[in-house]
Subunit: 238 residues, 6 copies
Amino acid sequence: MTKILYAVPGIGLDKQELSRRMNILNSFATPPNIVVVEAVEQGPESIECFYDEYISIPNTLRLIAKAEREGYDAAIIGCFGDPGIEAAREIASIPIIGPGETSLLFAATLGHKFSILTVLKNVFPTLEKIADGLGVSKKIASMKEVGLRVLELSSDIERTKKRLLEIGREAVEEDDADALILGCMSEAFLRLDKELEKELRVPVVNPVAVSVKMAEALVAMQLTHSKKAYSLPHPVEL
Amino acid sequence: MTKILYAVPGIGLDKQELSRRMNILNSFATPPNIVVVEAVEQGPESIECFYDEYISIPNTLRLIAKAEREGYDAAIIGCFGDPGIEAAREIASIPIIGPGETSLLFAATLGHKFSILTVLKNVFPTLEKIADGLGVSKKIASMKEVGLRVLELSSDIERTKKRLLEIGREAVEEDDADALILGCMSEAFLRLDKELEKELRVPVVNPVAVSVKMAEALVAMQLTHSKKAYSLPHPVEL
Amino acid sequence: MTKILYAVPGIGLDKQELSRRMNILNSFATPPNIVVVEAVEQGPESIECFYDEYISIPNTLRLIAKAEREGYDAAIIGCFGDPGIEAAREIASIPIIGPGETSLLFAATLGHKFSILTVLKNVFPTLEKIADGLGVSKKIASMKEVGLRVLELSSDIERTKKRLLEIGREAVEEDDADALILGCMSEAFLRLDKELEKELRVPVVNPVAVSVKMAEALVAMQLTHSKKAYSLPHPVEL
Amino acid sequence: MTKILYAVPGIGLDKQELSRRMNILNSFATPPNIVVVEAVEQGPESIECFYDEYISIPNTLRLIAKAEREGYDAAIIGCFGDPGIEAAREIASIPIIGPGETSLLFAATLGHKFSILTVLKNVFPTLEKIADGLGVSKKIASMKEVGLRVLELSSDIERTKKRLLEIGREAVEEDDADALILGCMSEAFLRLDKELEKELRVPVVNPVAVSVKMAEALVAMQLTHSKKAYSLPHPVEL
Amino acid sequence: MTKILYAVPGIGLDKQELSRRMNILNSFATPPNIVVVEAVEQGPESIECFYDEYISIPNTLRLIAKAEREGYDAAIIGCFGDPGIEAAREIASIPIIGPGETSLLFAATLGHKFSILTVLKNVFPTLEKIADGLGVSKKIASMKEVGLRVLELSSDIERTKKRLLEIGREAVEEDDADALILGCMSEAFLRLDKELEKELRVPVVNPVAVSVKMAEALVAMQLTHSKKAYSLPHPVEL
Amino acid sequence: MTKILYAVPGIGLDKQELSRRMNILNSFATPPNIVVVEAVEQGPESIECFYDEYISIPNTLRLIAKAEREGYDAAIIGCFGDPGIEAAREIASIPIIGPGETSLLFAATLGHKFSILTVLKNVFPTLEKIADGLGVSKKIASMKEVGLRVLELSSDIERTKKRLLEIGREAVEEDDADALILGCMSEAFLRLDKELEKELRVPVVNPVAVSVKMAEALVAMQLTHSKKAYSLPHPVEL
């Protein structure tokens, strides 16, 4: 049995929503593997800019360090921007999954060019940094924004869906994308990916799903990130 | 249950070896998923240059078309160079997994730079083409050759292992690789990856393992390559 | 006297058309040099996708191997996608000319950015692969499709010409191309390049012409592709 | 008069050292401009890995927000890795100077290729990320490590100097660097740059100096970073 | 006191205009530093194409050589295309400032992507070459032309301003630029940058200002371009 | 009959040497085509740095303008650095051939990576600029210098040959070049290319030969550089 932490770096989700997300995460896991959701106690409401990202990192690192001590086999950073992922890999030896990174890698294999449908333009530079780090920038057809703040996405799901269809269609028809990525976890947990796929007729990568699959795969293969790449020059207490 | 074809594009392996490989492939599958190995009836002995690649493709495509008709859920092209992968994706709707492509994507997430340990220099340009297609060329620390022909790899496993350790160490120490890829299926089926990992202290990506995991993951998520990216402008008979 | 093979990888052209094309090819040759056209006996009707490309290669390689045995000085692969060119260079020592590669190199020297006017979007990824291999991708202003299947191009030449003017004008006016390439041999053999040039006032590269000129030039300079780059690790029979 | 904050993100420096650094900073300022040094109260000893970087950011942001409220005209992030610079630019309107970014830009104009001499290999990926962000990666001849931890640099200055000369010479002679950057503030505050220049006969960029000059220049020209690029989608309290 | 030459490579400006420009240049200098304007005696009227650039270089080099002999501390090449800058750095040891190069470096630090507003499309390739040399091409959102010849810019300043606002707005709204550069010295000397900034709400880099600031900074830090990068293999008389 | 000018931008060659070179140039031309050599009357001895390049351009442009007026069909700039080629294309309508550009394009088609064997390190940046302009930088395995000044190359041909073999061998064995370019016209006119080829067993591109062939080919195809790319905004007298 593989036990995976899904670390939520913000405080804007209530218990019910956290539990709803845990169910969805586990719907992607292959039994008897399980995913446990845990949120930081202090941090930003949600992550919509560099400031939010950086503020969220120290507490998320603590969650991850604790998870490793408690025997978790892998951890997913619960934000598409993968905030602090390199530091998490420095302090931990279990595989640390970034949903952004993982989504870009899966999308890279599904077609020639993909578009990322995210919440707000503010996070475009973060997404570009992830793509640059992996080298896959040339596979990006475009980045598009829903134009809603993270916590508004679920307040009117029909509006969100309509907007995703709109920008998804632009990506496919105008920007020549042949695959799409839902570029925000709160978008992804609305589970609109299969509807978008049906409507737009291109594969839609759900970062929730690919993160769980990547965690399971790495653990099954006993692979983890390189400690040569992510080493700590001094001990830390977390 | 997911049923995966592993299509061997060459004729150089006898029944016993094909069966040994099938066992290894299935050791990476999560039950009840299964992998079935099938080889072409005509083709090159093994694949060591562009000529071998191209000659192997038409028959491999036939294997894959048949597999889809027979209800397989996914197919793996049994050569690290992913020969004919785009055409396979044009003629099929099930996910087509390229071990080269998949290994590069997994390695890209494990560290900053990786090296590929392959058989002969002749295949370097093919590997570069795969990396270029995905965009991950900048993550390649180096490509190294064992310097043995494919079918010699298993005739003296100790020699192969010694040579892999040698070039793996050069990659890590001189070229700053922090992860390694076994860049040839016949290398990978020797299952030396975990020994190399222990010795060289960096993660070693086994293309057999990641291909099975990628196939399982895509099927589980009901994701397949984009038919917008890989469409056929006319019907074909295979 | 230089004797050049023009190897047609598909079976869709009748004798009359093959003979018409041979005349055009020879109109670009400097006497007493000659170009001989030969088509495969089995293969795709025409080449409009990866599947067609790969299926056409084995027989085209046989044509080329035979030509070298018979004393030809150079061979041109008769498809803009240069299918199998690396393998042809492995099995042969005479210069192997790819019309796609050659056209991109000539266009690169004529201006700052060029556009490629080809038949169908399906071949865009092949063209990108050629450009990537040479490094000239940054010189591409755009790729445009006529939107007709290869064998339809000549059925209504006025329609084809109108369409080429249309997309050529878009390339020049909207995409800032300052040179154009006819990105399909069947387009090129319509000999519309000089009319397009006059109308659009930018140079138009005809792949038929540049291929003949490149073949003649390499033979005259006694230059051929590098056997270090394109070697065969084992003997083949063709 | 321009008033510049130099924000120290770590707690490893005592008052005397902070005051020594303030003197050096002011030696680069054009009177009557002044630079004030302030350190965070909590944070890492020094910054030698991603973990240190991320942990240091929230408190550094508070220092900078306070400085802007108190009327400072510009702020320099006191670490070569420019930790949190994008967030600082989101929360502030005064120019925020990153010594890493600024050094790379100055070095880019001094020659064809430069090398960065930093403390430990662990920070190479951070430096690559800065270079990637600016686009100047192709100007990097090499990155070299002194191989000492940050706080050891000043404990034996002769050793540090000898080591800098050693790796500087390698960079110039083996890697074809024609300019050098001192890639760590603690190195830079040893003021060995002019000695290195004399010995190695290539320009040596001191990040302390260029940061002060950049701050003064931006303030003089009434230029600051783009709020379109660095906007905050919601108010924050710091 | 730092004494800076501003070398005008063309002959199209009368004494009054040269004197007006000298005043503006000095308004950016920090007293007691001074900038002296000197124009070539023979050369093109203004610089609007490669031909003009190349024709202007020999005489500009003479101006710069003379300035160094006369004790100047730095020289600015008075054209945004930085014509002959590498040769100037070969023949001189004082810092040689290129307004184009310097503007691109400053703009690179102000936001994610910038646009260059220049006079005529003809100079786009020169600007691309400067960006390529520095590596910052990926930061360019777009290049836009005013569409007026250099000497027409000042004949109807309202028209020029209107046109700059127009193309600046397009750059910001359509091309996602978050900073702008005035890409022509004659534009820059109209001093419209602060008005554009106010209107378009993004920073506008004035090449006149940044060149003076760069010259002052390099002299203050006793830094100059690398003689390893820019050496002369033989003596010259100028 | 095609009449080609070979414009020598320096004054260091006596009549005998110019005539020897004319013979070699014509040995590459296909009769009845002819190449005429003409040298500038004033200019640098030879071209070994940016200074030499820029100083040589105005007079070379005059030679080319005159040739066009006199009915020449094409012109070759007689220096591997292609000095002033963009301006020559602005003032002329006949094809202007750059030996550097042309050699890089031919080499790009002969193998995977090539090395350039030139005279002095000083010209490396010029060669990089040419490669960057065409986009083929990624095809460069290395640049090597003979380490002799241009006019010394022919004073001791055995020494030059030995040195070319030495650096050619390094390029092939250490840098993985599979083709070579003689990166200097004075090297090329020694006609050592076929000896080097025999010894090193990789193709060697001779810039003299490829320039003549390119000129002949463009004229035969009635192709010339794009006037959209190289236009003049005003009339010039030359």
